[in-house]
Amino acid sequence: MTPEPEPELREALLAAVPSLRAFAISLSGQVDRADDLVQDTLLRALSNLHRFEPGTNLNAWLFTILRNLFHSEYRKRRREVEDPDGSYAGRLKVQPEQGSHLDFEDFRSALAQLPADQREALLLVGASGFSYEEAANICECAVGTIKSRVNRARIRLASLLNVDDIEDLGPDSMTRAALQG
């Protein structure tokens, strides 16, 4: 009766771990918490194997589980901690360094300032390689909603990172303009 994880399935689950971790870390902003999330995801997946339809996208299924766990835990924490703002961004806040090089910290902190629904939509579509349709399934919303969230996330990131502010690009803007023109 109990579905047993077969060797291929074990390999498939293991193979999914790096992308699950990347998603969880980007979603939560914390490696420890992300690893707990991934572990809970694997455990839940294993105990719900009977619900997985062979032949469908295993990764999408796992991402759905992880996302649901993240949100239920998030809601729980918000209730427990006196932190009505759910200050994910606050925890993650890094001292803004005015370095000229591309720094992932800057990007991460900008990402952290996005509303959660926009962040996850952008991560699913822009980084994890899911289609808009798959992302919509994972987030249980309409495709148009995902598109709109991804779009708004990009615009917000561009403004946070000054990507769209030509004045801030300095001399380099000439080069960029030339390259783009």
Binding site: M1, T2, E4, P5, P7, R10, L13, L14, V17, P18, S19, R21, A22, I25, S26, D35, V38, Q39, L42, L43, L46, S47, L102, F104, F107, R108, L111, L122, L123, G126, A127, S128, S148, N151, R154, I155, L157, A158, L161, V163, D164, D165, I166, R176, A177, Q180, G181
Partner: protein, 74 residues
């Protein structure tokens, strides 16, 4: 000579949208969009390349072995 100045243009096009673009849902110009996408993927790739922590291998190994007895309660 209204061309060039990629980013300024993009913003301007939000205002006087001579195109059929919906005014309610502005889009980022493709240059900015590409830069955002590149940074996102670069950050993500770095995370993806981290080695898988042993705890996950151990977890799957364990479940592999003791499966069958454990979850039979349903």
């Amino acid at each position: 000579m209204t061309v060039d100045k990629g980013n300024k243009l993009a913003r301007a096009s939000l205002d006087n949208s001579s195109s059929s673009q919906l005014a309610t849902d502005p889009k980022l110009d493709s240059g900015s969009q590409k830069r955002i996408g590149d940074q996102l993927r670069a950050m993500y790739d770095e995370l993806m390349q981290q080695p898988v922590p042993d705890r996950f291998k151990d977890l799957l190994d364990q479940l592999d072995k003791k499966n069958g007895g454990k979850e039979g309660s349903q």
